[in-house]
């Protein structure tokens, strides 16, 4: 280990001498010098839960890791932005949600470290195709290493489906929904024979997000123009979700924000839900022990691949420990560690090797569903989504508009027009 470290230090010194830039960075810590690396993340990345920070400290004497996590990403990001702007208070390693990565790449390249100049450079090639592309600037600078991704499936309550006389086997169910219209038709069938108080799907917004997750071009085109209004895929997804909401196929529960949504997992208020891989852990947490064996997972209608969510870790340009931080994130995102995190908290790996490794995984909570196979298939067949800096604003306006439709506040056309006005007002 000491030999390698000296070698990289020498290499770095060499590259510094070559570029001959008057960098103000302090010299990399000498081997054995105690170094504290601060890591600031949001939600559940799973590293602390799996004990990876302790493992890394044990394997690297002299390194201590100071870890903090903010529960909500919507609180985490603004706080990070103010610190980045003031240049103080940022951690050596910061989490970046996929919805923010386009903003980072397009507007903040100078605030983050180009990982090509660090030991993390070796890790860039080990991801599935699109993951690192999204974190790379047009000049080729890589600003983050991928952690997890959110390949899509449909989670469903097999007990409710059985009561309504629908197939409960994932393969049979999947065969009955060749596309999203098939999914809605199945919903009509369910609704006709469903137990009282149970809706086919949780929310129109969730359905919309699932449909749109299979698209390559969503809100922006390849040259960075906002095209949501003219993109037929967006309008189609919106109309399909609105139709489901108007037909009473949804439980009208706003995802994550309505306390009734959380309760619905256990109480059986809805039979299906769009299921990015990270939802697996969420369902277990909300439905609890009593829900074990009631849930199952199948692929998206027509076996389409899609992605919803996932994250990166980057190193702010002001970090004094770039070298050590880069080594840490390289290790944390290595295939072996990603597989461990998936086994414990369900965050799906983004490196090709780890995806292959977990493809045989099954989950007893979900009736032994082959979650590894379902999600790895979805991940590898997912399109390379074009991301944009204002994706979050547009997405929020869409899901709000759909909530207004399903709760009877607006017709789809009015809601669509309102959403458009809000977006223009905000993004312009």
């Amino acid at each position: 280990m000491p030999i390698r470290r000296t070698a990289t230090a020498a290499l770095l010194a060499g590259s510094l001498a070559l570029t001959a830039c008057g960098s103000s960075d302090p010299a990399p810590a000498a081997p054995g010098t105690p170094t504290e690396i601060s890591v600031s993340l949001f939600g559940t990345f799973g590293y602390d839960e799996v004990g990876l920070f302790k493992e890394y400290e044990a394997a690297n004497p002299g390194i201590t890791i100071r870890y903090e996590s903010t529960q909500g990403e919507d609180k985490y990001w603004p706080a990070l932005q103010t610190r980045l702007a003031s240049g103080s208070g940022v951690a050596d390693v910061q989490g970046i949600e996929v919805a923010r990565i386009a903003d980072v790449v397009q507007n903040q390249a100078d605030l983050w470290t180009d990982l090509r100049d660090t030991p993390a450079n070796d890790a860039v090639g080990r991801y599935i195709d699109w993951k690192e592309k999204a974190a790379t600037t047009p000049d080729g600078a890589v600003l983050g290493l991928g952690t997890d991704i959110g390949p899509m499936g449909i989670c469903y309550r097999s007990d409710l489906l059985q009561q309504a006389g629908l197939p409960t086997d994932p393969a049979q169910l999947s065969a009955q929904m060749p596309d999203w219209n098939g999914f809605l038709a199945l919903g009509e069938k369910f609704q006709a024979a469903a137990p009282a108080g149970a809706a086919w799907h949780d929310s129109a917004g969730g359905l919309y997000n699932a449909i749109i997750s299979t698209q390559q071009q969503i809100y922006y085109d390849a040259s960075g123009n906002l095209v949501y209004a003219s993109n037929p895929a967006v309008r189609q997804a919106f109309d399909t979700a609105a139709k489901a909401g108007q037909a009473g196929l949804t439980a009208k529960l706003e995802q994550f924000l309505d306390p009734g949504w959380d309760q619905g997992f256990g109480s059986g208020r809805f039979a299906t839900i769009a299921c990015p891989s990270w939802m697996i852990g969420y369902i277990k947490g909300k439905a609890g022990e009593a829900g074990a064996g009631k849930w199952n997972v199948t692929s998206l209608p027509g076996g389409a691949g899609g992605n919803w969510g996932g994250s990166y870790m980057g190193i702010p340009a002001s970090s004094p420990h770039k070298e050590e931080a880069a080594k840490l994130i390289t290790w944390l995102t290595a295939p072996e560690q990603q597989a461990k995190v998936f086994a414990k908290v369900g965050n799906f790996p983004s490196t090709t090797q780890a995806i292959t490794e977990v493809s045989g995984a099954t989950d007893p909570y979900f009736n032994g569903a082959p979650i590894g196979q379902i999600f790895s298939k979805s991940a590898t067949s997912a399109p390379v989504q074009i991301l944009g800096p204002q994706d979050g604003v547009v997405k929020n306006a869409m899901t709000q508009a759909l909530l207004a439709v399903e709760t009877g506040g607006a017709t789809p056309d009015v809601a669509w027009a309102d959403a458009g006005k809000k977006i223009d007002n905000q993004v312009g």
Binding site: L84, L111, G197, D258, A404, N425, Q426
Partner: protein
């Protein structure tokens, strides 16, 4: 505030240098014997006493106020630099239907919460003003909601107003009314939020009224009772006129509070600043927060903040004007 007025009072007793001494006053002659240092201290000490307040007010009151105005004249996105755009943010704001929506919602929720709140508080205070058994306990109990954190109270109320398993819908169901989707409806959500505000602030206002009522001489009640006035008539003709200044004070304070309403609608919506799918309970406070921290538009958020500030000043002036007219009449 009391401390400052007291500290500032002494210099008035000290005649300024060069001023002719009042002939009858014996004290000033003795005062001239004092050392100059002592006199200087007497003159400057009050300012030293009030200095901390003004220093803190400058740092945390005046400076942010002026800097916010400065920011509002810029395009300032979170994570980038400020660039001067003059009054563009104000043009954007006043041509934005979302702003008028938020303004309107602030008014409707304000009325829905303030009017019942003050009416109930007045009634409660009137009842507590009589000799009741366990009066102290009742007075303390009334203040409990005020001592509860907004976050805790709102989260509990969000569950109480839940559509599927909420207490309110359970009670409505018991009398045969269909479940109401409180959080997604327009007026229903506003009513639910108003209930939280009313629950939290009624006791506080009732205590203020109670204090005001106790300064009304008991003789007046006795005299009224002797004339055959019942409790309701006593309330109308003795309590209400006696309480007028107190009522005006609570109206001013509640109006300012209502125009800044933020925590309740934010947490009722699950921590999102949308204020419901159709922004049906997005107050000005939420609108400002959404601009700044959800959309990262600090310049626009600063603009909203300044317009809110001016609105509140206008409200206070209006209140003062109404109050002056009433007392003059």
């Amino acid at each position: 505030m009391l401390i400052e007025t007291r500290a500032a009072a002494p210099p008035l007793d000290v005649p300024a240098a060069g001023e002719p001494l009042p002939p009858a006053a014996g004290a000033p002659r003795r005062r001239s014997w004092r050392s100059r240092l002592h006199a200087a201290e007497a003159r400057t000490a009050p300012y030293a006493y009030v200095a901390p307040f003004f220093a803190i007010f400058l740092a945390f009151g005046l400076f942010p106020l002026i800097y916010t105005a400065w920011i509002s004249l810029h395009r300032y996105r979170l994570g980038s630099r400020m660039s001067w755009i003059g009054l563009d943010n104000y043009v954007w704001l006043f041509s934005n239907p979302s702003f008028y929506n938020a303004l309107w919602k602030t008014i409707t929720i304000g009325v829905l919460s303030t009017v019942p709140q003050l009416a109930i508080a007045l009634g409660l205070a009137h009842l507590l003003n009589y000799k009741l058994r366990g009066r102290t306990f009742l007075r303390v109990a009334m203040l409990m909601p005020y001592a509860t954190s907004v976050a805790a109270a709102t989260l509990v109320f969000a569950l109480i107003f839940g559509r599927d398993a909420g207490l309110v819908n359970g009670l409505l169901g018991a009398v045969g009314i269909d479940p109401v989707d409180w959080r997604n409806g327009d007026w229903t959500a506003q009513i639910a939020i108003s209930v939280i505000v009313i629950w939290r602030w009624t006791g506080y206002n009732a205590l203020i009224y109670l204090a005001g009522m106790q300064s009304i001489p008991a003789d007046l009640y006795k005299a009224a009772a002797m004339d055959g006035a019942n409790r309701w008539q006593q309330f109308l003709h003795v309590t209400l006129p006696g309480l007028r200044p107190t009522i005006l004070f609570t109206i001013v304070v509640s109006t300012i509070g209502a125009s800044q309403l933020f925590g309740e609608p934010l947490l009722f919506g699950g921590g999102q600043a949308n204020g419901g799918p159709a922004n049906q309970y997005q107050t000005l406070g939420l609108f400002m927060y959404q601009q700044g921290w959800q959309f990262g538009q600090l310049g626009r958020a600063a603009t909203v903040a300044w317009v809110m500030f001016l609105l509140i000043i206008a409200l206070v002036l209006l209140n003062a004007w109404v109050a002056r007219r009433r007392t003059e009449r």
